[in-house]
């Protein structure tokens, strides 16, 4: 019996097609996985299945009947419930009130608080959630908050629940408890659509899996009949090959970035790595692997709980960005809009922000020298702009990223850390960006590229894989894509990971 179907769904946002005649069908009582890389169209499908957005074409049905109109929120909520990645709990209200928000039981027009607390307690008991309804929701742990959301979802009477990356913010024990709960609910006939970047979880808790790639449906198959490698191949397709810049090996230079036993609670644990001068090292991992937090710690944006970062022989004060820069670090932040650029300032000012000391004496930045430095950078990195005075907000994504890179390299760093350097950048800019990085490495800079895209690290001499806060694999040049992606998604780490759980 089919519980939910979405057929032939197409959804466009302006020029981009988020879903292209894609579809999914779930049978009643199954836990169905939906996987795909970033931008595959998963989130769009979720918003269409929950009635938050209308598909351009295509039909959604629940139990064989067409979906209610978009305005009928209650109708949707009786059919489908979703636990989003982003919490929809209101932190300032109590758990009980969150459970019955906007449907509090009234007596003679006034909210019956005692009754609400009692019913909230019953609801939480029924699903075995040991939380007192009078607790303020902001005091809950991530896991507890998620359980409250699941209990609330079920209380609307929906028998179909979408879990959008529910495990991303949970630790291993909490994930196992969540799965146990999902199995119990499945036994009582609840249908799940489970979205995760961790393929191992798909094999653990799901019966069937659907793969989306580039806005299209690729395959749907029972997980038993789909080996890991085939699943990974379905997700990635044929990996495009980027021409690698000619660059000699450099494994004997001095160590310019030395990370020893770095630990930050809930983010990463006991991470050690070293990068030598002239070497390019890749660090890949999924969003929850802790790789970005590690990069931020190296740059001094976060302060580690333990361990040391040594840059070109000096150990800057932990948690100090100027300290890291003075020690010789170049840093290209993950989100260039939030951390990288001041959008209303000119290209010149943004590009020379880290080298103002060289632009004049006693804190004065001479405009002529700034201009000169900026013009050199614009030429060197092939930044397409009307000139150093153009505000960076007017640049395309790739060119804006080149400004950030030019700035990171402007101070002739000994070590360079780049986080997702090609995110949101078109193919050609990607190549010229990576070529600029390879050029810097050839000139003797030690480069650490932190990314979740394999293409970014294709030129690297070695690649490290992070999973759940630890480095789980180190591969020298000539690695096998499938095995690296497997490690990123936790398939390779499965043996050790699961043993840990089974104890």
């Amino acid at each position: 019996m089919t519980a939910v179907t979405a057929e032939n769904i197409t959804k466009r946002y302006g020029a981009t097609t988020a879903l292209d005649h894609a579809g999914i069908a779930l049978t009643t009582g199954e836990t169905h996985a939906l996987v795909g890389r970033n931008g595959a169209g998963k989130s769009t499908l979720v918003s269409i299945l929950t009635g938050l957005q209308r598909a351009d074409t295509g039909v959604v049905t629940f139990d064989g009947e067409p979906a209610p109109p978009l305005a009928d929120r209650d109708g949707w909520r009786q059919r489908v419930a979703c636990v989003y990645q982003k919490s929809t709990i209101i932190p300032t209200l109590t758990v009980g009130e969150n459970l019955f928000l906007n449907r509090q039981q009234s007596r003679r027009g006034l909210i019956d608080w005692r009754g609400l607390r009692r019913r909230a307690g019953e609801l939480l008991d029924r699903y075995g959630v040991a939380i007192d309804p009078a607790t303020v929701a902001g005091d809950l742990t991530v896991e507890q908050g998620q359980l409250v959301e699941i209990a609330r979802a079920l209380s609307f009477g929906a028998r179909f629940i979408i879990l959008d990356e529910p495990t991303a913010r949970l630790d291993a024990a909490a994930i196992e408890r969540l799965f146990e709960r999902m199995r119990d609910l499945r036994a009582s006939g609840v249908t799940f659509l489970f979205i995760s970047h961790h393929l191992q979880e798909v094999y653990e808790v799901c019966q069937r899996v659907t793969v989306f790639r580039d806005a299209r449906h690729v395959l749907t198959a029972p997980v038993d009949e789909l080996p890991h490698d085939d699943l990974v191949r379905a997700m990635t397709g044929d990996a495009p090959v980027v021409a690698s810049a000619a660059r000699g090996h450099a494994n004997d230079g001095p160590v310019v970035l030395d990370v020893r036993g770095l630990t930050l609670a809930d983010r990463y644990e006991d991470v050690s790595l070293e990068v030598r001068a002239g070497e390019m090292v890749g660090l890949i991992g999924s969003g929850s692997s802790g790789k970005n937090a590690l990069a931020q710690t190296i740059a001094g944006l976060l302060r580690a709980d333990g361990g040391t970062v040594t840059i070109a022989g000096t150990t800057p004060r932990p948690g100090s960005v100027p300290g890291a820069l003075d020690a010789g670090l170049g840093y290209l932040p993950q989100d260039r809009h939030r951390e990288g650029l001041v959008p209303l300032l000119s290209v010149g000012e943004n590009a020379t922000m880290t080298i103002t000391k060289r632009l004049g004496p006693i804190g004065i930045a001479l405009p002529a020298r700034r201009r000169e430095a900026a013009t050199t950078m614009i030429d060197e990195y092939d930044i397409r702009t009307s000139g150093p005075d153009q505000p960076v907000s007017g640049l395309s994504g790739g060119n804006a990223q080149k400004v950030v890179l030019a700035r990171a390299l402007a101070s002739d760093p000994k070590a360079l850390v780049l986080v997702s350097p090609t995110a949101g950048v078109d193919v050609r800019s990607k190549q010229s960006l990576l070529a600029a990085v390879a050029k810097a490495a050839a000139a003797g800079t030690g480069v650490l590229i932190v990314s979740d895209e394999l293409d970014d690290v294709r030129d690297c001499d070695r690649v490290l894989v992070m999973f759940h806060g630890r480095i789980v694999q180190a591969a020298p040049k000539g690695w096998d894509d499938a095995s690296l992606i497997g490690a990123v998604e936790g398939v390779r780490a499965e043996s050790s990971h699961e043993e840990g759980l089974k104890e």
């Binding site: 929120r73 209650d74 909520r77 982003k86 919490s87 929809t88 709990i89 209101i90 932190p91 300032t92 209200l93 009130e97 928000l101 906007n102 449907r103 509090q104 009234s106 027009g109 006034l110 909210i111 608080w113 075995g128 959630v129 040991a130 939380i131 007192d132 309804p133 009078a134 607790t135 303020v136 005091d139 742990t141 896991e143 507890q144 359980l147 196992e176 408890r177 799965f179 146990e180 709960r181 119990d184 759980l501 089974k502």
Partner: protein, 336 residues
């Protein structure tokens, strides 16, 4: 994989937390008691009924503005224009009913319309703020700052910068009448605060205000019509400010061109001292009321204590800052 259906979470401690939340509400009550004691020591006149009633009556207009602002802040918005509404609403209403010889607009509508017109003006101002903030998605802070200036300018333009006298008795009544031994304005404030406290704690719409201020996306996901609720809150804010204008006009017997000017700072201070968060979603009207009382008592004690008129403002401001610091320390959370 031997998980049991029950989650092994640390057992929550509900009772203490609940009490703590209640305690936060009552945090200013000891401060009020201390002020009463200090006042009594400084001047025996302080505890007399006449003085206390006087303090309360002087705070009625402020307290209505604080009531309005607290609800708006809890909903996660701002309204700075309340301090101009308190002047413009009665000025416009009176201008339409009094003869041009008394600086009226010359329309000389029936005087019975004065009160409805005043309240209507307040509601329209609130609705217009809502239009700019919700429809055109402008920042509430800047919109209401602009409105503050525009409305004050309108009042000066309409009245030619003159104070309006010749107030009809119906308008004078609310600010002067005595009901059951207490000024009517005190009763009105008490009733409105009681109604507000009840509504925000026991009505679904009231809880929606907290939900919107706490997390507007989650509120929308729960089916709350967030824009509509905020719009109504802004209209109620304008209404309350207009009512405060009526009380002030009645009490003073005229509408000054600068009626209400500068009040908004005290309004915010009272709300924040009373535990209302500028981030939205947090705070209670009872707390806000306590904030008003604390400021009123401090003002009165400074006056009775013989602080010279030239210095009273600086000292009053310093005490507000000290109270904010204390509130920050007791709540333990940053205010921004």
């Amino acid at each position: 994989m031997t998980g049991t259906p029950t989650v092994a979470t640390a057992p929550a401690k509900p009772r203490p937390r609940l009490r703590l939340a209640r305690f936060r509400d009552l945090a200013l009550v000891p401060a009020i008691v201390v002020l009463l004691v200090v006042g009594a020591i400084i001047d025996p006149v302080f505890l007399s009924k006449a003085n206390l009633v006087n303090v309360l009556q002087q705070q009625t207009e402020l307290s209505l503005l604080v009531l309005a602002e607290a609800i708006i802040l809890i909903a996660g918005k701002f309204d700075l224009s309340l301090e101009s509404t308190i002047g413009l609403a009665p000025a416009l209403a009176l201008g339409l009913v009094i003869p041009s010889a008394s600086h009226g607009l010359g329309t000389e509508w029936p005087t019975a319309l004065a009160i409805p017109l005043c309240l209507l003006t307040g509601a329209v101002i609130g609705a217009f703020n809502g239009l700019l903030i919700l429809r055109f998605r402008l920042s509430a802070f800047i919109v209401t700052l602009g409105m503050l200036i525009v409305l004050r300018g309108l009042q000066i333009g309409l009245t030619g910068g003159q104070n309006l006298f010749d107030i009809p008795p119906s308008v004078l009544y609310l600010g002067n009448a005595t009901w059951l031994g207490l000024p009517a304005s005190i009763w009105i404030c008490a009733i409105l605060f009681a109604a507000g406290i009840l509504a925000l704690s026991f009505l679904r719409a009231g809880r929606a205000v907290y939900a919107i201020g706490g997390n507007v996306d989650a509120a929308r996901a729960a089916g709350i019509r967030t824009d509509r609720v905020v719009w109504i809150v802004l209209i109620i804010g304008g209404l309350l400010a207009a009512l405060a204008g009526l009380l002030m006009t009645g009490r003073l017997g005229s509408v000054a061109a600068a009626q209400g000017q500068g009040m908004i700072f005290t309004v915010f201070a009272a709300a924040v001292i009373g535990g209302v968060s500028l981030d939205g979603g947090k705070g209670t009207l009872f707390g806000a009321l306590c904030g008003v009382l604390v400021l009123g008592l401090i003002n009165n004690i400074l006056t009775l204590g013989g602080v010279s008129a030239q210095w009273i403002q600086a000292i009053y401001g310093a005490i507000i800052l000290a109270a904010l610091i204390l509130a920050r320390l007791t709540s333990g959370k940053a205010q921004d």
